[in-house]
């Protein structure tokens, strides 16, 4: 165990710091959350800057046009970006983290050369069509149907939780090509051009009041067979390949952001006098220790990925602990705010006259409910951890004989 950086890692960090310091001040002001066109312009501009500097696709293999950085360099990249206040991956999320790596691993040469360069450069934005209104945790029950018609698939059905579908160029789409009962053996992975006729995008208003997500309604959308990635009915496996790209750095930005937020809350508690309450102090101490532990766990996972090529179990259990700690912190913020937690209008502190920052904390509290649901509910995570790591038996399927 030696947590010292190698000379190469230190050089990587130093170069990145210089680049971030020179580049971030040139960025335009962040666009309004509700202005999708402006958000697209902002995020793709940032991706273009990364691309120009050789940081695009930091975790992608060099053959695919990426940086081919080691797991430790990926960790450094995310750490430095967060500490410098760089923009998040934003609308590039699906293309860079999901669709692109899948196409690289499973796509044809033609597909790789058509789609990958424009994901890296930021020119193309992708969205994800996996979940359906009737298929959330049980994704393999999906019913969006694709029927072969010559050299096309004709697709009908609906998808939900499709982020930024309003401004996406392409969608990584999972469709049912097998029988209704075929479950994960009858799913196919398709590239859908979002300008195809028959696609309706409806914004989905969440409990935060935002329309971060959308629903997709597909009515006889024609998708060329050449847009299929992998074999017909092999889409489940193709999708799982994507997931194995995870190298334990998936939540680095969120974790460091949470640690920053906790320092803010500590400051807030001191301003309001709540810090004098030992119960409040201990909750702060508990959260700080938990986030520290999760940061150590991240380093352990990344180090394992670096040494063995496999991230090990740290990444699997991380989300369980992180999502619960995030919710506890959000609850603490609301208690510290008291009445100021009941409105989004800026409230200033009675004594020091400075803003309490309540709007962000209230927003964060609402969004914290997402933590234990999105990307696999905590209940599904616990099934995965207990069955795949602890080796506990699966639950017998419904209707199975005892």
């Amino acid at each position: 165990m030696d947590l010292r950086a190698t000379p190469a890692e230190e050089a990587f960090r130093a170069d990145l710091r210089i680049w971030l310091a020179a580049t971030l001040p040139t960025l335009p002001a962040k666009p309004a959350h509700t202005d999708w066109q402006a958000r697209r312009a902002f995020d793709t501009h940032w991706q273009g800057l990364l691309h120009g500097a050789g940081y695009a696709g930091i975790d992608w293999p060099v053959e695919a046009g990426g940086r081919g950085a080691s797991p430790v360099e990926q960790l450094i990249f995310k750490e430095e970006c967060e500490r410098a206040g760089a923009p998040y991956v934003g609308l590039g999320f699906v293309g860079l983290l999901h669709a692109g790596p899948t196409i690289n691993a499973e796509g044809t040469l033609a597909q790789r050369t058509t789609y990958l360069p424009k994901i890296l450069s930021g020119e193309h934005v992708w969205c994800q069509g996996f979940s359906e209104p009737g298929s959330g945790s049980d994704l393999a029950s999906m019913r969006t149907r694709a029927v072969r018609d010559g050299d096309h698939y004709v697709v009908s059905g609906s998808k939900i939780w499709t982020s930024h579908a309003e401004v996406a160029d392409y969608c990584e789409l999972l469709v049912r090509t097998g029988t209704e009962e075929s479950r994960h053996k009858g799913i196919t992975w398709l590239i859908m051009d979002m300008s195809s006729p028959g696609i309706e995008v409806r914004p989905l208003k969440t409990i935060s009041g935002s329309t971060e997500f959308a629903e997709l309604f597909l009515d006889d959308v024609r998708i060329p067979v050449e847009n299929r990635v992998g074999e017909e009915n092999d889409g489940w496996r193709v999708t799982m390949v994507t997931l194995s790209f995870e190298r334990g750095t998936g939540f680095v930005g969120e974790l460091l952001e949470s640690m920053r937020l906790l320092r803010e809350l500590t400051d807030l508690a001191k301003r309001t006098g709540a810090y004098g309450d030992p119960g409040i102090r201990r909750r702060i101490g508990q959260l700080a220790a938990t986030f520290d532990g999760l940061w150590a766990l991240t380093k352990r996972t990344v180090s394992e990925a670096q040494a063995t090529g496999i991230p090990g179990i740290g990444g699997t259990v991380f989300k369980l602990s992180f999502s619960e700690a995030g919710q506890k912190m959000a609850d603490l913020a609301m208690e510290l705010l008291g009445d100021a937690g009941l409105l989004f209008d800026d409230v200033t502190h009675a004594t020091d006259g400075q803003p309490l920052g309540n709007a962000d904390h209230v927003e964060n509290w609402i969004k914290s409910f997402n933590l234990t649901i999105a990307a696999g509910t905590s209940q599904i995570q616990r099934n995965i951890v207990s069955e795949r790591i602890l080796g506990l038996p699966k639950e017998p399927p419904v209707g199975a004989k005892k």
């Binding site: 165990m1 947590l3 101490g285 700080a288």
Partner: protein, 343 residues
């Protein structure tokens, strides 16, 4: 950056595991239950011969000259086997107190109580030849001392919570006999917390393994109880706690051993190297306390009625977890330290 066990650490762990398998099987350990003296001198000598107590002693003084990180790895193995005896105190006293490294002098830890109304206890009064007295507050200036058993006025408990870790009621420490220890109390205390936390990680891993094995074997309603989500989710949560606690424990040991890393990491939080070490150590002890207590409680629950019997060993892990989460410092004190270093 490399956060993996080194080859030497793997060898240390596996070598120690072989000794533990030979001398500290569960049956062997359980034979000492509720005895005034719980230390098996043959096994203790085997640990000493393997260099366990001399791990932290510099090579120039005849020790192994290993780091606290290595010692933590070793202590996890001992915790997993519920090895009885004053392991932490003896390891820390070795090199200063004659006979500790050699296995002939057994040294416990006496932490002076912060809680004035409740008198303190000392561990293992029937086994220890003396005690390290560590101030409980985080005060680098206060010295750590060694007091021989003859100068500790204590009454062995008629019955202790943990049948494998008996305690005595502390009445007085005769200070004039105290011998000041080399090294600051601050550093000794951090090492004591880390080694105790490592023992807790071993306990938690042991309890989780027992629970998983039982959940696979025990059938109710025609299926293994481990196939019910109500059971498997409890166990998944314990594994999540365990992995996080162990990672923080190893991180804390690494920074304690490397002030340059502590200084670099501390800068991010506006902390000095020593402050960062304290934040890491206190956080590690807090998380290890919590997983030890939680995983052993869950083990009792998953074992159902059997978990409430003396025969099934989960209560031994449960009670030891309670001992180690209490005696040296409480979890609340650890949370207070971390909070005081969060700004």
């Amino acid at each position: 950056m490399n956060f993996q066990l080194s080859d030497d650490q793997v060898a240390l762990r596996d070598g120690l595991q072989a000794i533990v398998d030979g001398y500290f099987s569960l049956d062997h350990v359980r034979a000492r239950e509720d005895q005034p003296s719980v230390v098996d001198r043959t096994g203790w000598q085997a640990l000493s011969d393997a260099g366990v107590f001399a791990l932290l002693v510099p090579e120039s003084l005849g020790g192994l000259g290993l780091s606290i990180t290595d010692a933590v790895v070793a202590m996890e193995v001992l915790g997993h086997a519920l090895v009885p005896g004053p392991l932490v105190g003896t390891m820390l006293a070795a090199g200063t107190i004659a006979g500790a490294a050699e296995g002939s002098t057994l040294v416990g830890i006496a932490a002076t109580s912060d809680r004035g109304a409740i008198p303190g206890v000392i561990e293992l009064p029937g086994d220890c030849d003396g005690y390290l007295v560590l101030p409980s507050s985080r005060d680098g200036a206060a010295p750590a001392t060694y007091v021989s058993r003859a100068n500790v006025v204590a009454t062995p408990a008629t019955r202790s919570l943990d049948p494998l870790h008996p305690v005595g009621r502390l009445e007085a420490l005769l200070e004039p006999s105290a011998q000041e220890l080399s090294g600051t109390a601050d550093a000794l205390r951090r090492n004591a917390l880390l080694l105790t936390a490592a023992f807790e990680v071993g306990l938690a891993a042991f309890a989780l393994e027992l629970s998983v094995a039982y959940a696979k074997d025990r059938y109710q309603f025609g299926r293994p109880i481990g196939s019910f989500q109500a059971i498997k989710h409890l166990l998944a949560d314990e594994l999540a706690r365990l992995e996080m606690a162990r990672a923080q424990l190893h991180y804390a040991a690494v920074v304690t051993n490397a002030p340059d890393i502590a200084a670099i990491d501390g800068e991010v939080y506006g902390l000095s190297a020593t402050q960062l070490e304290w934040r890491a150590v206190a956080g590690a002890k807090l998380l290890c306390d919590q997983v030890a207590v939680s995983a052993t409680k869950t083990a009792v629950q998953v074992h159902g009625g059997m978990g409430y019997t003396w025969e099934v060993p989960v209560h031994l892990a449960l009670k030891r977890a309670r001992v180690h989460a209490t005696m040296l410092a409480t979890s609340d004190q650890m949370a207070d330290i971390v909070a005081s270093l969060t700004h």
